[in-house]
């Protein structure tokens, strides 16, 4: 069974396991794997989950002060905390900004990359491979490598504090172009030959044939781009002000605003859970296309 089937099928098989037979049988199957292995695995996974579980619990409490493990019982303040963080302290604004930034980057990157890949894969023109390498080489240029000039360029364009500043510089994507190219190269050439014989133009071929055939990959790439964009921190921090600030940076401001003593921590954890939610939900919902796409990226 592949990684993919294992993960995608997890809920069904968990249900099946719980339905299947008496408790004794279930225990026997656990024993077959080795109880020690299960114990070790469970504790490692718990170690990974523990910090976020604590954050979730604290986000439901009135005060953020937890003096011992006994205090880690969910409180009844969940609604108040989430309401206060989102509405009164206006954390919803940061969430919306992040959502706009990530969505624009997803759509823009996909559109721009699809066009480029169409040229790279389906056109016979000189210097094509050179252009492909030229795009791939941008992998060598993460934000820190061009930090000061990029900052000066974007402020020079008058783009600081606009949504352009936190989206346009991200639109060119070496990885997206690479993954889509690999995928298109796996589609039989006869398809495009027939399309051409039928008089179908390149854009129509892209829209009517390639995109419908690539839904899985496109969803997977979208999730990767979304998570990447949502998790950007340094660049939004320096280039946009409070109006357009993203959720991750907003967290720090939430802590500052909520600084009225003990409440601060409950609200900061509330904000943390909120900020984690969108990428996490996408990961869980679209785990199948996501993992498929990763398996292409590695090649």
């Amino acid at each position: 069974m592949t990684l993919l089937e294992t993960i995608v099928d997890a809920p069904n098989r968990a249900a099946e396991y719980l339905r299947g037979g008496r408790a004794g049988d279930r225990f026997a199957r656990l024993r077959e794997d080795g109880l020690a292995v299960h114990a070790a695995l469970a504790s490692l996974v718990l170690l990974l989950l523990f910090p976020v579980l604590v954050a979730i619990v604290v986000s439901t409490k009135e005060s953020g002060i937890v003096t011992g493990l006994a205090d880690l019982v969910p409180g009844g303040n969940a609604y108040d905390n989430y309401y206060r963080a989102l509405v009164e302290l206006e954390f919803y604004r940061y969430m919306l900004n992040s959502l706009v930034m990530a969505s624009v980057i997803v759509v823009g990157k996909l559109a721009v990359s699809l066009l480029a890949v169409l040229a790279v894969v389906y056109y016979r023109v000189p210097y094509k491979d050179f252009v492909f390498l030229f795009i791939l080489f941008t992998l060598l240029l993460p934000v820190p490598v061009r930090f000061v000039p990029l900052y000066r360029l974007v402020t020079g364009l008058g783009w600081n504090n606009t949504v352009f500043a936190i989206t346009v510089p991200y639109l060119a994507s070496a990885t997206t172009v690479f993954v889509l190219r690999q995928h298109f190269l796996s589609i039989p050439p006869s398809l495009v030959e027939n399309a051409k014989l039928d008089g179908v133009g390149p854009l129509e071929f892209l829209w009517r044939v390639l995109i419908p055939m690539s839904k899985g990959i496109l969803v997977g790439v979208s999730v990767i781009i979304f998570v990447y964009a949502w998790n950007q921190y340094l660049w939004p921090l320096v280039i946009v002000g409070d109006d357009l600030q993203v959720a991750q940076v907003g967290l720090g401001r939430l802590r500052g605003q909520a600084q009225a003593g003990e409440v601060a921590w409950a609200l900061t954890m509330t904000g943390s859970v909120l900020t984690l939610l969108p990428p996490l939900v996408l990961l869980v919902l679209f785990r199948k296309p996501l993992l498929e796409t990763f398996s292409i990226q590695r090649k």
Binding site: R13, R26, L48, Y123, R124, E193
Partner: protein
């Protein structure tokens, strides 16, 4: 011969490539080249006037003890992150590979940190290990709950001894606000935590490609679990492991800014002032644009070398059919 390259219009191809190329040139290549250029100048604060100073900025870096410390810290940090995240993820992936029951659930619960925003990771750990408020701080620091287990034997003997007293003296004092090594360790742990998901994804995929017959043969030959992992699986997985080592190094150098910004602000006394944070401070707090650009160029050399190594390693494995 069948070919995909059925369209020939150069204008169309150029138009299709234009958006990507334009953004790449304007926002990636030109700023990168400008960074190199700026690194040769001293940029006046506020005025933006530039003075050509040649390699002076690089000389400053070569002779700056703070920068040397930052380089050293970053290398240590990268090594700790790469070793830590890869050992932990290898263990998790291997154990998941070994079980049948609950495989999928274990995997989802190991992969999710891939989606974890770094600032969230930072804030959660800030809270968990806050020197005076943290939940874990209380568990780590003495006094530990003894439940009377230590005192009772003495009481039974009628001896009056304070056994918990000495215990309070041993054990760590969580204080990463002022202890450099503790702050460094904390940031490392958080950086590892966030990167586990990504590693488990690739390691599990790679382990699943190992033929079952090989595992069977090893079992019949009486090779134990750990023997199987280190003598059979790890060598077969080495291309993936090499790829991950590079990706994790790049992550440690470039993807960890938020942890520092949220938790330690580079301190205490520069103990967590890794290169990317140092660069940010130079550029936007000290407005030393020239020196900051020289630091950018240093980072560019780092990515360049790493990518080159990755390219060579991948090529080698592909060539020998690994």
């Amino acid at each position: 011969m069948a070919t995909r390259e059925v369209f020939e219009s150069r204008w169309q191809a150029a138009a299709l490539l234009l958006p990507t190329v334009l953004v790449s040139v304007v926002f990636l290549y030109v700023p990168a080249v400008r960074a190199f250029e700026l690194s040769l100048f001293e940029v006046g604060f506020g005025t933006g006037e530039v003075d050509f100073v040649g390699l002076e900025n690089y000389r400053t870096l070569l002779t700056s003890p703070e920068y040397h410390l930052s380089v050293l810290l970053t290398v240590l940090f990268a090594v700790a992150v790469v070793v830590g995240v890869m050992s932990f993820s290898l263990l998790v992936s291997f154990l998941v590979h070994e079980v049948e029951v609950g495989k999928g659930l274990y995997l989802v619960s190991a992969i999710w940190p891939y989606a974890l925003p770094p600032a969230v990771a930072g804030f959660v750990f800030f809270f968990l290990l806050h020197p005076s408020l943290g939940v874990l701080t209380r568990a780590i620091e003495p006094p530990y709950p003894t439940l009377g287990l230590l005192e009772r034997p003495f009481e039974a003997l009628g001896v009056d001894v304070d056994v918990t007293g000495p215990l309070e003296a041993v054990g760590p004092d969580v204080d990463w606000f002022s202890s450099g090594p503790q702050a460094f360790a904390l940031v490392t742990v958080v950086a590892i935590w966030k990167q586990v998901g990504y590693n488990v994804i690739f390691m599990t995929a790679s382990m699943n490609n190992i033929p079952g017959s090989l595992t069977e043969t090893a079992r019949l030959d009486g090779v134990g679990r750990l023997g199987r992992l280190f003598r059979i699986y790890v060598p077969i997985m080495s291309p993936t492991l090499a790829f991950l080592a590079i990706m994790n190094t790049i992550y440690a150098f470039f993807g960890t800014f938020a942890f520092i910004d949220v938790m330690t602000d580079g301190g205490p006394a520069g103990a967590t002032n890794i290169l990317i944070f140092d660069l940010y401070r130079d550029a936007l707090q000290n407005f030393e644009f020239g020196t900051a650009s020289a630091k950018s160029v240093v980072l560019f050399v780092v990515v360049g070398v790493l990518m080159y190594v990755q390219f060579r390693v991948t090529e080698e494995y592909a060539y020998y059919g690994g």
